[in-house]
Amino acid sequence: MIEWLMAASWSPYLVGAGIGVLIWTVFLLSDRPLGCSTAYAKTAGMIESAVSRQKTESMPYYRKISPTIDWQWMLVVGTMIGAALSAYLSGGWSISVVPPLFKESFGADEMLRLTVALTGGILMGLGARWADGCTSGHGISGTLQLSLASWIAVICFFAAGIIAAGLIYGFSFL
């Protein structure tokens, strides 16, 4: 058991099946889908609220998604801890800034990578709320319920992602 938890990686099929079973428990015990991006909108709302509570409470979006700590927010906290634990157990926990593929293409400049990451994050946060879900909420939880919007969303995520990645790094599969 311990050896298994300490393994560097598991089969993607096993990991996927594990996420599937996790989603059963979320539907059963929490009556909701598993999605990550709402927590980021809640965080934005909490920050706005710390600046001006009155103004934040009057914003229609934060009346729709209340900026409070709840299941969804704790999910993201847990995700950070769970991944840290897994990396630590397999001896793979280490601080990194510039991923290998990025370094190969654009060099080891940390500020460049962080600026790019911030830019990508802003677009992603905007897009996730715009489409009302992300790779987990639409991509897994929604598709498995045969939701039409989720299947269309995940096709758009990957179609746009594949084209953008190809333009940035070159269409290496061609």
């Binding site: 993607p12 539907f27 994050g121």
Partner: protein, 185 residues
């Protein structure tokens, strides 16, 4: 429902959220999805780990959720969509996905595993979500409801029973996973 007590307890839900996150983050790290190179590899079509994980999760998740629904234990949580919301938002998300190299869930997991760029990406996602909240009244009026989809689910769209569509989808997913394996991806 049998689980009303747990479902309506705020404290229990926070604990369950944390616990679900622990499992989710552990699985994402073990699957290699905390690595930028693995995610970009999927978008560059050189590494199919992300698709394998997602399709296996959909296959197993679908079987359990539809079975529990048939048992009367759970209800579906379907969001309606539109061209203006789902398609436009999805395209913006996809471009951000390629630039950041993590998604909202895997960014949190990658940060947990020590990736500083993922933390900065998370800050960006919060800013982007904040921008959306500011734009929401105007977007809701002008764009988000444009081209509403005629159906909420694939079974409704096709006009077949959910059980049949789920079975066909399961067969397609298994076929696709076999194909990827056969192609050595």
């Amino acid at each position: 429902m049998a689980f009303d007590m747990i479902r309506s307890s705020g404290r229990a839900q926070k604990a369950l959220g944390l616990l679900s996150g622990l499992v989710f983050g552990f699985l994402l790290q073990k699957g290699g999805l905390t690595e930028f190179d693995v995610i970009l590899g999927q978008l560059l079509l050189t590494d199919f780990t992300v698709v394998k994980v997602m399709l296996s999760a959909i296959l197993v998740g679908m079987a359990g959720v539809f079975f529990m629904r048939w048992m009367g234990l759970v209800r579906l949580q379907i969001k309606p969509g539109s061209m203006g919301s789902t398609v436009l938002g999805g395209i913006i998300f996809g471009v951000g996905f390629a630039i950041l190299g993590y998604c909202p869930g895997t960014a949190a997991a990658a940060f947990g595993a020590g990736a500083v760029d993922a933390l900065v990406g998370m800050v960006g996602i919060v800013i982007g979500a904040g921008i959306f909240a500011r734009l929401y009244p105007a977007l809701d009026r002008l764009i988000l409801n444009w081209g509403a989809f005629s159906a909420d689910t694939l079974p409704e769209l096709i006009g077949l029973k959910p059980g049949i569509v789920a079975a066909v989808m399961a067969a397609l997913i298994i076929g696709l996973l076999y194909l990827l394996d056969a192609l050595g991806r």
